[in-house]
Symmetry: C2
Subunit: 423 residues, 2 copies
Amino acid sequence: MSDMTASASPADVLIVGGGIGGLSAAFALAREGLRVRVLEQAREFGEVGAGLQIAPNCTRILSDYGLLDEAKRLGVLPKSMVMRDAVDDAELTRLDLTDLERRYGFPYMVIHRSDLHGIFLRACRTAGVDLVTDARIVGYENTEAGARVVSEDGRTDEARVVIAADGLHSVARGLLSDDEPVSSSYVAYRAAVPIEQAGRDVDLSEVSVHVGPGCHFVHYGLRGGEMLNQVAVFQSPKALAGEADWGTPDELDAAFDATCPEVKDGISLMWRDRWWRMFDRDPIMTWVHGNIALLGDAAHPPLQYMAQGAIMAIEDGWVLARHAAAHRAEDGSIDWRATLTAYEAVRPEHCRRVLTTARAWGELWHLDGLARLQRNTLLRARDTYDYSFIDWIYGPTALTPEEEPPMFAPIPLGSADISGLTR
Amino acid sequence: MSDMTASASPADVLIVGGGIGGLSAAFALAREGLRVRVLEQAREFGEVGAGLQIAPNCTRILSDYGLLDEAKRLGVLPKSMVMRDAVDDAELTRLDLTDLERRYGFPYMVIHRSDLHGIFLRACRTAGVDLVTDARIVGYENTEAGARVVSEDGRTDEARVVIAADGLHSVARGLLSDDEPVSSSYVAYRAAVPIEQAGRDVDLSEVSVHVGPGCHFVHYGLRGGEMLNQVAVFQSPKALAGEADWGTPDELDAAFDATCPEVKDGISLMWRDRWWRMFDRDPIMTWVHGNIALLGDAAHPPLQYMAQGAIMAIEDGWVLARHAAAHRAEDGSIDWRATLTAYEAVRPEHCRRVLTTARAWGELWHLDGLARLQRNTLLRARDTYDYSFIDWIYGPTALTPEEEPPMFAPIPLGSADISGLTR
C-alpha cells in the first residue's frame, strides 16, 4: 500500500473533496495554523455550474476571511430581488437588497460559482494548504490516532481528522446513514452568457425570480454585469412516469410553454447540452463518526430553492475552525473530539431546517390553480421590509458572535446599537 | 469527612441549588433515567419573589415536560402586552399575545414565581429526584471519576457530573472566571396582592409596562386573576453617589413622582420592607470546568428587562438533558464529556446575547429628554405584528427541533406548513 503523497509531510486534517465546501473549510482550518491537505478526485480543481447567490450569512464569513472585496470585484451586487408570477409577470413580493445589507450588515450578492471557487482556491494556496488532485477516496476508517482514507487506486493517507466534503453522493455518509439521494423529479437548466446575447432588455439591478405552475425561472447578472445568468427549473413528466431518460430539452420547452413572454424569451437561451436533475437527501443529525466528519453537501444536500447549499458548506467550515480554535490547548494541540462534538451540536439542526424549508419553498413556488392564487395573495400581503421569514437564516446566529440581535424593527439589525439615541 | 447523604445511593448527577434552574434541570435529567440529587442551601425548597413572565420559548419546554397544563391552571394567559410612556400614559407599542401564541405555537403567560417553582418541585419528587436541604456548597473539585462538592460544614458528595445552579453569587463560577456581579444602580420593588386591594381599575387581560425616565413600572394578573402583580424599577441616586444604603423607599417615591396617575396609584401598593438591587454579570463563554458545569444565573445572570432569566435557566436544563440523551451509549451510559461540550457549544452564545440585549433594552426604556421622544417615535412606528425583534428569542432555535422556521410573514410560524394550500 503506497502513500498518497509520499513526499508530503503528514497533515493534521485531510479534507476529501475540493469543491467550495472542502476548499473553504481547508482555508478556515489552515488559517488557524493547521496543516491541511485536500484530496480532490478530479484532474484539476474547478467547479461546473453557473451563478450562485451569496446572502449576508455568507458575505459575513467572506468578510471575516478577508475575501469579500475580491468577491465583490468578481460578482454583482443587485439592488433588489423581485418575485413575479411566471404566468402573468405580475410582481408578487420583493426584497430591497440595499436595505437588507443595512439590516444584516453584509451584502447580498451574486457571483459565478467558478469565481467563488477560485477565490477559495487562491486563498488555500496562499495559506499553504496541500492540494492533491486525482485522488478519488473510496474508503474511510478510524484508526487509533485518527482516521485513514483509501483511494480508488489503493493509496492511503492518514491524519488526526478526516473531513468528508464529498458531495451529494458522499461515500463517507455511508458510515453514518444508509439513506439515498431523493429525487425531486425537478430538473434545472442553466445558462451563463455574455449580456449582449440576452436578446432582450434585462434589468441587471435585479435578481429576478418567476414562479409558475411546476416551474420557475431565475435570472441575474454576473461579472460586473458582463454576463447574464439564467436558471430554469421544472417538474419532469417523464420523471413522474418513472422513465429513466428524464429532464430532456423537449420537456424544458413544454414546461415553460404557458409562461409569459418575459420568461419564454429567456428559455430560448438555456444551455441544452447539459442539465441538472435535482436531488436532495433527508436530513441526518449525526455527522461525526469517530475522527471522520461530514461537511457540506455530504452532510446536507438541499434542494436549491433557498440558495443556501454552498453557503451552508461555507458556514460548516467556519464553525469547525472556530470550535477548533476554542478547543486548542496551551501547547497548540487541538482537542478534536471536543471540536467535532461542538460542530455536531451546532450545525445539523440549522441545516435540517434549511433542507425541510427548501422543500416547502419549492412546493410554494410551484403551486397551480386556486392554490397558486392563494399563494399570490399571501406574497402580495407581505411587507417589503418584513424580514421575519429570513431573519433565522441571514440574521445573527451562533455563527456570528460579533453580531447583536435586533432591538426593535425600526433599528437596523446590522447596527443594533442604541447608543446614538442616548447621546 | 462525612458523606452528605450517607444513606442515599450515589447519584449520577449532583445539582447544586434548588431554585427554578436547578430543579428544572434535575427533572429534565431524571426524565432521561438518570439518578439526580439536588443540594439546596436553605432549610426548605422555596422561592421568594412575585410574578414571572414565561414566554413561548419556555411554555414550549413546559409542554414537552407535560407541565404546561398545570402551569396554565396556576397562571394567567393575558391577551396583550402594552408598553406605554410612564409620564403621559400614551401607548407606545403592543404585542397581541393571542397572535403571538399562533405564531410561536405556545402561549405567553404569567405565573407566580413560587407556583412555577412548586411545579418543578412536585415534578422532581414524582421523578424520584433526591432532594437534599441544608447543604450549602462552598467547594468544588474535579476527581478522576467525576467531581466532588464540599459543604460549609465539611460534608462531601461526589458524582460523575456536578451542575452548579448556585445563582448570581455562584461559588462554582469562581472556577471559571474572577468576574463580580455588576451593579446597574437600579432597584426593583415588587408587590403581589389580592386584586381587591388594587384600589383602581386594572385590566388583567394585559401585561402592562410603563417606561419612563430612569424608571419603569410593570403590572399583570396572577393566579387566574385573583392577584395583582406589580414591579417598580428605578435608578437609585444614592447608588450613583456611591452610598451603601441605596434603593430605600424614599427613593422609590421620588423616582416615580413625575409619572402619570396610572403609575403613581400602583406605587402606593408596593411592598416597602424589601427590595431587590439589580445586578447582572458580564457574559462568559466558558461554563464547563472538567466535570463541573454552570447553569442558570450562575452562568448568565441578566438584568430582568427581557424577562428571560428564569427561562434561560429552564432552557439550559432542557438542552443539557437533550444532549445527554444524544450521547448515551447502547449500555445506557452517558458520554458526559461530549454532553458538556455540546451544552457549551450551544448555550453561551444565546445567553450572551440575551444579557447584552437586556442591558440595551434597559437603556432604551429609561431614556429621558429628546432621546425619550425619539424612542417613542420608534416604538410607535413598530407594527404590532412585526416580531423581528423577538423571533430570535421566542422562535425556533436549536432548542426546538420539532418547530419549523417561518415561511413568509403571513403564514404563522407556529404552523409553518403550507400543506393546506396545496390541498
